[in-house]
Symmetry: C2
Subunit: 462 residues, 2 copies
């Protein structure tokens, strides 16, 4: 019985897969404030040039440095598991496989990119990375990577999470990360906000502004900023997930899964699993590929495809993506990692091309699925991951109705041991289904009206 | 490079190893309040007869039921890993291997016994298990097992932990466990204590009394009590750890390790790894086997070998073991799982026979080791596990001094993600070394003076 499918160390993928090389239509370029495409040089104060090169690369395969692999070996290749206990419970003819990304020391897929990002920065002569974190997953993953590679790490953590999630902060400290509540007194952006609103709970947008400011204003030039999702090079680093999964499925005689599922906030865990299979789909394979998002933050399922800023403070270049608008304030659902207004432009492009078929699921159905999972498979998944679990259950039930022996593959992006509060809310009946009201979407139109619509390429006018 | 040594599902051990069959001297029997050996019948209201049979068995090998294996497959065989990053950091000629028991859904070795215990109870027609939990590891593990096997689970959690560790309680609830603060209003023992001391923080002793009372007073006879360490059948179930490790080492050409290490509180994770190798030592192999305990609770290194109760309330049979006395109140060190006054009688017997060489390590050295571990190997270990890590580092340094290529094997008994408060205390300089003062040991003599000394077998008189 192939319950756990392992890959030997020597069989780890040696290259990342870059989907930009295979997309039917070239990507729309990021635009500067003047409406012109952003050049690599303009990003140099924020990111090291070796990562900027990856960001804009259209090479299909990019070598993973030996020294990066040496760090990834701590937990990779990650196991591919078959959810036989859930299959039995659902009495489905479907085979449900999941890639277990919860086995990294930080507990999620995030270190797949924090490690190479820290490594490339170190290679470029950088000594210190700054970043922001909401719920704390990314801040932990970057602290972990910097600890092993020998970089200082500064994390601006949204104040309300900083106060409510002391254990995440402690994880970062164990790995030597310096985590401060944002807004802080350490940046102009932070001080300004604190002056105006001393009691603010903070926001991801503010934290991003602080992290970028500290990176670009370091007079030594030895500080850069690091981002845990959305960007092309992040998606690239995560493709190791799907490449491993492909080899693992092959080893048990499965040439391709029929359905691929991942939860999508900024898009990185989903893309990591899905892109190597998307290549097959581009080349003719029949696979349904589903990025799964909350009905409370329905970026891919209900938002327009447009040019928008990546952050609330409008400091990033404009990117062509599905977006609820940079001013969108998502409701406080427990899957903090899925509350982003935008989405990885690469994932968005796949949706535009019809390669991916997004789906939104409500948080109550997700927690119900997470509980079924814990009481059959045995593990406690992250609130974000529960969206992928819920979608896999939907597909397994559908396979039963259709009487089809489908192979379903989903990404188990992280464990939920640091995020049990959402389970408590669910178990005590405090969660209700939430679908974003139409009037909220009207605000999106308003927010985006001054920026070029992404469709301009097709229409030729703005 | 053999960084991660895996075992295929079909190679999982099919039998547990019972060291009672091989001990040079037979075990001293547990005694009842009258000083006479306890018969299996006397334990029947507390445990199901099939587990009592295991408790008193002297069969060398006991079959693991197929259905128990089917549940263990969720995470077993567990990986054996080589700590190459720590080896490099220490620049030691020693090879450091560790058995990774943190990969179970509950995060420790505890489910290795909670699963068979729940299964045997179910087979015996039991519908509900009660237990106590301190820090929450055992309560989580039993809730997990009951959830998968279909038993009700009632956990009495020491009130101070219940209040300070809400996430452990939530883990239990996710698995359907019913966790209440102890003392509770649900038992005579609890009500009596609450009447006398309404603000008591509770204790493991009180919680045990409540759990046993609820098991033995259920008029339906369908409730039993379950214990997570100390007892013979618990050690038996844990031997799957060492049996797997043996097969894994063999697969990379290592016939036997030179040093074996495990932290010891009640003794179960240590015994689980050590007993199968102790058999080899009985048969002539040269292996140093080290149970490692805190200097704050030095049961094996400084306490007398005597007959004593297993619990504070003096409700259990008298067991022959090293003991600091049932009235011993351990200082509040952060490794809650190592604060037990006694120790598994089987482990104690091995120490008496000279098969195991106990060592005590101070908590500051342990956290220092845990931090070194997190910043080299990458993972955050449980405070209990940090004792084994510290001991492994001591041995690796010794191997370097001696210039010997030793093989060190230790048990990585659990992760520390639910127990980060101790790290905080260490990182903020709030932990000091603590060695139990001699005057505390004088209290042990006083506590034990009315009970038969275990040496009576040798002297023939009491």
């Amino acid at each position: 019985m192939d319950r756990k499918i392992l890959l030997n160390e020597q069989d780890i993928p040696k290259q990342w897969y870059n989907i930009a090389a295979d997309l039917p239509t070239p990507m729309l370029p990021p635009l500067g404030p003047d409406g012109n495409p952003v050049s690599p040089d303009m990003l140099a104060p924020v990111f090291p040039m070796n990562l900027i090169e990856q960001e804009v690369s259209t090479e299909r395969w990019i070598d993973i440095p030996e020294e990066v692999l040496d760090i990834l070996y701590r937990w990779r290749p990650a196991p591919l598991r078959r959810a036989v206990y859930l299959e039995r419970f659902l009495d489905t003819p479907a085979k449900i496989y999941y890639k277990d990304e919860s086995t990294s020391p930080a507990g999620s897929h995030k270190p797949n990119t924090s490690v190479p990002q820290a490594w490339y920065n170190k290679q470029f002569g950088i000594e210190r990375l700054t970043t922001e974190t909401g719920a704390g997953q990314w801040g932990s993953a970057l602290s972990f990577a910097c600890s092993l590679i020998g970089l200082e790490c500064k994390v601006f953590m949204v104040r309300i999470s900083f106060d409510q999630k002391p254990f995440r902060k402690l994880m970062m400290q164990v790995w030597g990360g310096n985590c401060v509540a944002s807004p802080s007194e350490e940046t102009n952006a932070g001080r300004k906000i604190l002056e105006e609103m001393p009691d603010t709970p903070g926001s991801l947008g503010i934290a991003i502004s602080e992290a970028i400011e500290q990176a670009v204003t370091d007079p030594s030039g030895k500080t850069r900023y690091s981002l845990g999702s959305v960007l092309n090079h992040v998606m690239l680093h995560q493709t190791i997930i799907g490449l491993e999964a492909k080899a693992q499925l092959k080893s048990v005689g499965i040439d391709k899964p029929d359905v691929i599922i991942g939860c999508a906030g900024g898009g990185s865990n989903f893309a990591g699993l899905a892109f190597p299979f998307t290549q097959d789909k581009i080349n003719g394979a029949e696979i349904e590929i589903i990025p799964c998002e909350p009905t409370a933050c329905p970026t891919l399922t209900r938002a327009p495809f447009a040019y928008d800023f990546g952050d609330t403070a409008c400091t990033t270049p404009l990117m062509a993506m599905y977006t609820l608008g940079h001013a969108f304030v998502p409701p406080p659902i427990h899957a903090g990692g899925l509350r982003y207004h935008g989405m990885s432009p690469l994932v968005c492009q796949c949706v535009v091309e019809g390669l991916h078929n997004p789906r939104a699921i409500d948080q109550v159905e997700c927690y119900e699925a997470a509980l079924t999972w814990a009481r059959t498979e045995g593990t406690i998944c992250a609130p974000e991951t529960s969206h992928a679990v819920a979608c896999a259950i939907q597909e397994a039930k559908k396979a039963k109705e259709e009487g089809k022996e489908k192979t379903i593959l989903f990404n188990y992006s992280g464990h939920g041991l640091m995020d049990l509060k959402g389970y408590e809310a669910y178990l005590t009946g405090k969660l209700a289904p939430y679908y974003l009201p139409d009037e909220e979407l009207a605000k999106t139109e308003e927010c985006l009206k001054d920026y070029p619509p992404a469709e301009m390429r097709k229409t030729g006018k703005w």
